[in-house]
Amino acid sequence: MSLLSRMLNAFRGERLIREIDEELSAHIDDAIGQGRDSSEARQAFGSPLRQREASHDARVVAWVDSLRADAVFGWRQLNKRKATSAAAILALGLAIGACTAAFRIVDALFLRPLPVANPDGLYGVSLGESLRNFTYDEFRQMRAEQGQAELIAVSGAPALDVTYGSDQDNEQAHGQFVSGWMFGSFGLHPALGRLFTEFDDLKPGAHPVAVLSYDYWTRRFARDPKVIGRTVRMGPDWRIGTSSKAFEIVGVGPEGFSGTETGVPIDIFLPTMMQAMVEAPYAGIFRIFVHLPPGAAIEPVRDRLLAALRASSADLSKAPRTLVTESAAAGASNFRTDYRRALAALDVLVALVLLIACANVANLMTAQAAARSPEMALRVSIGAGQSRLVQLVLVESAMLAVAAVALGSLFAWWSGPFVVSRINPPDNPVRLILSTDWRVIAFSLALALGVTILMGLAPALHASRSQPFGALKRGASRRLMDVLIAAQVAFCFLVLFGAGLFVSTFDRLSHQGTGISAARVLNLNVTTLKPDEPAVFWDQVAEHLRQVPGVESVGFADWPILDGNGYKTTDISINGAPPSDVTAWVENISSGWIDTLKIPLLAGRDFRPSESRGAVIVNEEFAQAFFNGENPVGKTFEATWAALKGQRMEIVGLVRNARYRYLKQDMLPVVYTNFRDGKGLMQNSGTFGVRTTATNPLSLAALLRQEVARANPEFRVSTLHTQQELIDAQTIRERLLAMLALFFAVVALLLAGIGLYGVLDYSVFQRRREIGIRMAIGAQASEIARRVACESLVWVIAGAAVGLALGLSLARFIESLLYGVKATDLSALTAPALALIATAILAVLPPVIRAIRIDPVRVLRSE
């Protein structure tokens, strides 16, 4: 109470003093009124000024008062230089906003713990380098050895076809198969109904129950309590089964919990035993979590699990040698893994931009502090202590920082979700919950403090060293400013260097030859109600689609090219030779598919409508790998995969190479098998590739959907993408990195340019007298220009050299994010260097011109 009122008194300044004075003078008046002698009364009273000071000190917290005075003064200073202050706030705000946005994403992805019991005890188990997940059998073997810990299996989080009514009302929801005991182990309680227990996860196919996430319940059902007991029908899908299955909704999960898959909030949880391939010996589809009791160590558990895994392995030489356990306190997902390094790289760029901004503002403030050195000297001479001067400058910095943080928060509030929304593969938008928790607030505060110190300390210390008699000495701050310029240039070079690498990576990828013509191609992903619909039905649908106006050609395949799916086979032997160890890839296609994608046919022919069993088309890479590049048409080999195993295959056509799974992958040897020979790989689904005559193939989307259903009611379009979307989806990370890095590079360059300009401008102003004298005694303009420019350019070059060295040594950390470019390429280094030099020249030009234009007579007279 008293402290508060004393703090508040600090803001009543003038009025408080007036009141004290009034009371004191009333005392004297009273004394005189009582008949005392006026001078005696004044003497008895003592110095009114001293009493006033003592009273003032009693009534006001001194440091608050001095802070208030500094703030008022700082505000006036900032107000006086509106343009500079605005520029400083804008630069810092942008950098702080970028930092905060980046931190919010990092927080949501990596820091914020899952709302489960003992999140620190949650670890993800993986097979190290191999990207494979675990089969359920492996999980079972390991679970037998779990001891005190609890092992939990979860599947991926695909978007599944779900319906709550008839099969026509199809919608999509993210489903995840989880161990029945997961909720119990996580200590979660249902918001409604019940959650799974271990008894919901005993026998394959025997537990058709589902739990909705709270978020999904809110979004889809507006928290309708009657949802319990309703049926959700899912599939058909390879995960659900060859026909669609009904699940009874038994409960709704707790608020705030939407699964362990960071970036993909789960809508519907299903027991692992309902995964159609749970018992398949080769289906490595489960992610495994270890949930430790509080205080337990992970290492012994990991060793036990590895031993169990190896003991269960049939062939010890192929058994996993290591298990990697990684904290999953904040969840785990492919998205997290994919973006970890990219985000780290972005964070570094963002931090560098912030450092540049700080250095920049520090420079501005140093220049101003130097300009204010007479004022500082005056303050020292009337008794201001060093700490008081430091406080004065720091308060001003803090005001800038607070304004910048406010601006930055606004920027981050907008830009964080914007960046996340860019990470948006078709069907699988990343949804990160970017809440503002205490971590984000603490980060912002720490940032404000750090920025204040970074940009304010140097000028503050400079100010505190002011000597009353030193006010005439000048230029002491020049060295500091030059060092700050060098630092800015070094950081700027790093940012430019990184941005250049990311941009050219994206450029390489987006100009990567695919071997197909993606323009105007639409892929209709179709599920059939019955598994293994005979190919003739597929042909009928394709034939029907060919008649639709606006359709140029139609083919179909198991899955679209370049959508990330793939099927590989090994041990192919040619003419009874020993099996080759080359891996070949298989794609099941119809006649007309090659033509639709415009893959050039080099020899032989496409499949005929009435093709005999065992015909295949291969690509150049296949011919190279298995036939030494000879024309393979007419040659035969034995199939080694799936349903066709042992079948003699005859090569009827040779096509040019096309990318198969990923844009970043080299051309692979591919066997195109005939859809007529049976599906076998994808029993319930396939894709119609449709080349349209319209420039935007999506304009036919609705029509084609209908036509598929009309051609055959058992066929249903689940999703629909243009081929270009699929290709673009493969470069999302690279595009995001390139886009953001480029943005930061421009900001960095701008800041560095402004910084350099500011310092030179200040130095010309400071040295106008010296320059004037030089001119008066006959110095050439070129000589003046050289003098002015060179001093700073030396620092620019030094900074660039440091940046280059740093860049080269740090480049290996981002190598995995690059494609087709090397950090040590000459072009990777010259582009940032050229950009920097151009910026430096632009920044140096105006001050140099001003220096040349100095009129010696006027300058010398004014001094």
């Binding site: 008293s2 009371e23 005392h27 009273d30 004394a31 003592g46 003592a54 009273s55 009693a58």
Partner: protein, 109 residues
């Protein structure tokens, strides 16, 4: 030795006591009251009264308000708060303890 020195450390107590008897005094009246009540023996240094009053006000022992006197001038008058009454009681008993201890020494030695 100036008389004011005798007030060292007891000014708060005297002010609180005076105000508890006669609330609504202003600064000069408090000085006069101390002087009168002590039979002209004690005399507070007039100037140092005000910082003490302001300190006690900020501590919350006394509260002040401005009133307009008959002369038309404003005066700042003071009165005890609840916290001030408590403080007075504890200061009084502390004073009693100290003086009785001092008296005991004077008697016995």
């Amino acid at each position: 030795m100036p008389k004011a020195d005798k007030l060292q450390g007891s000014l708060d107590l005297l002010v609180l006591k005076i105000l508890s008897r006669r609330p609504g005094l202003h600064g000069y009246a408090i000085i006069s009251a101390i002087q009168d009540a002590s039979g002209e023996v004690l005399r507070a240094e007039e100037g140092s009264l005000y910082p003490a009053l302001h300190r006690m006000e900020e501590t919350g022992w006394i509260r002040a308000k401005w009133v307009t006197k008959d002369t038309g001038r404003r005066a700042r008058i003071y009165e005890l708060t609840a916290a001030g009454k408590k403080q007075l009681a504890s200061e009084e008993s502390r004073w009693q303890a100290v003086t009785s201890a001092v008296n005991r020494i004077l008697r016995t030695v």
